[in-house]
Symmetry: none
DNA sequence: CAAGCGTGTGTTAAAATACAACACACTACC
DNA sequence: GGTAGTGTGTTGTATTTTAACACACGCTTG
């Protein structure tokens, strides 16, 4: 009923940060726009969202915006990242063990992830907090020095952590990619950590939004031959397909 | 100039919380509405305001709106915890290394902490995210299994972490305290972690809000002789003073 | 069971707001 | 003097919001 729908909207808004009325209409095709408007109005009354022209945004999102360094990044290419995260979420099976990195795309993955019985390792603080909401997810954070830019941890000691752990699958993201330089990121210890995960994981899925293609960051942590699946958005340039196919990478 | 006007708008918005375009036009009669729109647009880009239909509101205002009803419900004994956190924050000197635990009181401490050059170790995810905002704080998170109830980590492996690290001071909090049973908490691995910190830290400060006195939790991790300073609130029962004095504990 | 009431919803037209495009003024720099 | 860049104003158009009314449904009450 009404209340259910309103709660659902609130949840959606929590996940996505903001939603346009148009998007909401897609989610709730069997009610009119006017009804959704009224729902938003009510949520605004309750102080849970802020209505902006064309839709609404969650209060939490606003607080983040002011939180500065980390979250500014989350604001860009949001749609692509959510798209990728949703695809990735569908690839996660119950009763497995996996590693998720600490990037912003990974945070959306954490939000989209089903609440199933899995064991997740992550080096992302935001990812961890998000996953801590899920009842059935067993969660371990890799400790270490905190990189403030992206709220992730990394440290040489992490290696010790991984010595006694195993995971089937690593779902990670890169800050940059070119065919020549592979997948790269901005921090050396993060790159080291990701290299280690490559060794421990049976499969490696890479999340890469198309805006990162053609860019280069200082530290390469993986090449094409290291990954099994590439999860990307609709703007992925077709001319790269061949190159990925050559390495038996599933692009989706 | 443009910049001046924009800053002035930002200030106004800070003071009033929100402003309609109409009101803005009154304040700036000699520029067009379009210009004011563009100014608001820019401020929005900078993440300093939120544009809403008909005008804009300051980010701070939004935080207030959500700050009131929500957080007060979430946490209990908030005032006492903030009081304790403020006291504790004053005890932290620059250029030291300290451990902070992952409790809710610790989170308030993280918020109250001055942005000075210290190295902080913590097992609290919320604490870490809070501290990540501070430019001068060097931050390390102890990894491990995440306890969802209080968003803290703990694991046997943490010991390995601490082997190569040192800190002057540990500021921790307990979930319960009695003279007979000492300081206790609800999780065994957390208790283990805190015991280890006791060994590594030169000084141990305990944050304990008075509501926890007289309660007992399953796992004791410290006794009176283990701590150096007790930070508590105004409701601390006077009859305990003597007992603490006996162990040379400074109560504040 | 019909009448009456409240709630939730949909439809429409009108109002309010925002945006895009272009034009102009002013400055700085060559 | 020309030219590029920035800031601004004007206009018309597009979009979004609101208001007002109408309908359907469930519930109570006579």
């Amino acid at each position: 009923m009404k209340r259910d729908r309103i709660e659902e909207i609130a949840e959606l808004l929590d996940k996505r940060g903001k939603l346009s009325l148009e998007q909401l209409e897609e989610f709730f095709p069997n009610v009119s726009q006017m009804t959704l408007r009224r729902d938003l109005f009510q949520l605004e009354q309750e102080g849970r969202i802020i209505r902006v022209r064309g839709g609404a945004m969650s209060v939490k999102e606003v607080q983040k915006v002011s939180g500065e360094p980390y979250t500014k990044k989350t604001a860009i290419h949001t749609d692509e990242k959510i798209e990728i995260a949703q695809k990735a979420a569908r690839l996660i099976d119950a009763n497995t063990s996996l590693f998720i990195d600490g990037g912003t795309t990974a945070m959306y993955l954490a939000k989209e992830m089903p609440d199933i019985n899995v064991h997740v390792f992550t080096n992302g603080l935001a990812v961890a907090i998000e996953l801590a909401q899920k009842k059935n997810v067993n969660l371990t954070v890799v400790g270490g020095q905190v990189l403030k830019e992206n709220l992730s941890t990394a440290s040489p000691v992490a290696k010790a952590y991984f010595d006694n752990t195993n995971f089937e699958l690593a779902i990670i993201s890169a800050s940059a990619f070119t065919i020549a330089n592979g997948f790269s990121c901005a921090s050396q210890i993060e790159a080291d950590l990701l290299k280690i995960t490559r060794k421990k994981a049976k499969f490696m899925y890479m999340m890469l939004d198309s805006s990162k293609i053609g860019k280069i960051m200082p530290y390469t942590f993986a090449h094409l031959e290291d990954i099994d699946v590439l999860i990307t958005d609709d703007n992925f340039p077709a001319e790269l397909n061949e190159e990925f196919a050559k390495h038996n990478i599933v692009v989706m």
